[in-house]
Symmetry: C2
Subunit: 349 residues, 2 copies
């Protein structure tokens, strides 16, 4: 598959790094910066399709500016990620057909069949847009390959920050087993992008070494100049976190803090294991955890400071995120570092 | 560190693959076969030190046989793994000083300080034996580096089969963050072997790409000719399992089946998610899960057949284990495949 990636996404440079379509966090500035650096930039949509339309208009203008070569005449050289459980397909389609993103990334349906409904509708609305589908298991990957024939499957490992279906596996076994299953099932044309726990060039190199065609990074871009963060405290928490497997946790309590969990029950999320998580884990009743959160939200830090009662979504790679850079620098450095890591591992005696 | 591996373990071939010191499963036949193939073979000890002594005598005889070059004049070119919480140090030391394994692998202490006690005693008993210590987080790795100065830290990712401390991260973030922390802390001489989810050459390549000096495989060797399995049904379960992140689970219920859980509370284990796990997860009371297990044990398959009530320890890489081979073939094939994966990833356009 990798040989055709350059044809499909002609503005990219190997190895291809994409930013995760983090809903509400990945806006036009981040997406444009990642694509301009030779990666694949994604905007992460929330429910509001009018806003998404504005974001795409803004991204288009950012991409036209300067020397960036637009990929081709048909599509915009960035992608858009949709959380299927919360977005209305009928509202999304007009935006897709008007703005023509290079890629439509489908994630988190209420039911698996929604992938197929969306795939068909997107293909009809924008035949040149590629379809990428995010899943977390080999069996779902195989079914989705058969029903949707996506261009790429984003295999989300259990180390990923933010939301995903559980249980799962890390990319080190998930990617190879999925690749084999796809090849055996006659789906060798479908590419795989690995997501989850990748925060630097070494992670990118590992993803490629185990058979992925590219890598998705989310948490790393939380410390980029172009990301949209809900509060200033988020950045401090991300930069300070160490030992990512211990300082983050997957749980549904993060979505329960407000008392209005909109997520379908098959999804949980990985976030920094702050006071809300620790309280709940140690037996504090949910109602009391919610009360404490509600009080913290009234503070100037809005729960993102102090003992951390708000949800700061982050993957286990958060301990590798130590400084803010431009998204372009992140893409280029990780790409160069990945090449070096692979060469070094190949040449070692 | 990797440049000195060949000096320390002169019988090995890059990239170095070790078999996990699976207590009771990794005996002299497996350890000898792995080392003879240029990997590092480990015997996994249980409580009985007289048996371990016999196993080491047996391994020595297997290693002398044929053309295998013994590594050096002092130590036996295999390692021994100890589960510190269950083995008496006083009983282990005479066996170590008599048999002089090349490596002593320390895992699963009741308290972290036991690593230091063991390290000192082992060094005194056999100064030429190398010390490898298995941990699962960056913070413990750093402390152990300081207190024990091991030759190698085995970083156990959350995908690993069998027992480990929780919570954790996959090797894709765990290995890079640990490497950085060790280097920053002045411990750049300490090597890292990655464990967890590695079942083929792609996993080995990924481990190396993300900065490990070598890879440990456990689950893959369950389908080797030389492994010691507790029942014939285990092999069938391992070969049939697919979608490793879904078909396995980490839990303490596997250790609770007999009603005599000997493990300290900080450890759980990853095993095939059979009927016992599913029952417990769906709300069946532990006593009833134990009753059903006790009935299954009386069947000819001893709980390892039918709906699977016994614990079959396996990592998320189990879906990549599809046929029985000799341990030597496994080591050689994974090594060759890892090299090819790295070269292919390096050369991709």
């Amino acid at each position: 598959m990798s040989s055709s990636l350059k044809e499909q996404y002609p503005w990219t440079t190997y190895p291809i790094i994409a930013n995760a379509a983090m809903g509400g966090y990945a806006g036009p500035a981040l997406a444009a910066a990642v694509s301009r650096a030779g990666g694949i930039g994604f905007i992460g949509a929330l429910k509001d399709m009018a806003k998404l339309n504005e974001q795409l208009v803004s991204a288009k203008s950012l991409l036209k500016d300067g020397n960036f070569e637009v990929a081709n005449q048909v599509t915009l050289p960035i992608g858009v990620g949709f959380l299927l459980f919360t977005v209305s397909l009928d509202e999304a389609i007009p935006v897709i057909s008007r703005q023509l993103p290079a890629i439509v990334w489908l994630a988190c349906p209420t039911q698996e069949e929604d992938f197929e409904t969306w795939s068909k509708a997107v293909r009809k609305a924008s035949p040149s847009s590629r379809i990428w589908i995010q899943v977390a298991s080999v069996s779902v990957a195989l079914r989705v390959a058969s029903t949707c024939e996506p261009d790429v499957l984003i295999m989300q490992g259990s180390d990923a920050g933010g939301h995903g279906p559980f249980p799962g596996a890390g990319i080190v076994s998930l990617v190879p087993e999925t690749r084999d299953a796809l090849d055996k099932g006659g789906f060798s044309k479908i590419g795989i992008f690995a997501a989850g726990g990748i925060s630097d060039g070494r992670g990118v190199a590992a993803a490629l070494a185990c058979g992925a065609d590219g890598a998705v990074m989310g948490t790393r871009f939380l410390a980029s100049n172009e990301v949209d963060l809900p509060a200033t405290g988020v950045l401090d928490v991300v930069l300070e976190a160490k030992d990512g497997g211990v300082s983050t946790a997957r749980a549904t309590v993060f979505d329960d803090l407000t008392g209005k969990n909109i997520w379908p029950p098959q999804y949980d999320g990985r976030a920094i294991a702050g006071a809300s998580y620790k309280d709940f884990k140690s037996g504090v009743k949910l109602a009391e955890v919610q009360n404490r959160y509600a009080s913290a939200v009234k503070e100037p830090h809005r729960g993102f400071g102090g003992e951390l009662r708000a949800a700061v979504w982050a993957g286990t790679g958060v301990g590798l995120v130590r400084e803010v850079k431009t998204a372009g620098e992140i893409v280029k450095e990780c790409r160069d570092s990945a090449r070096l890591c692979l060469e070094r591992a190949t040449k070692s005696v």
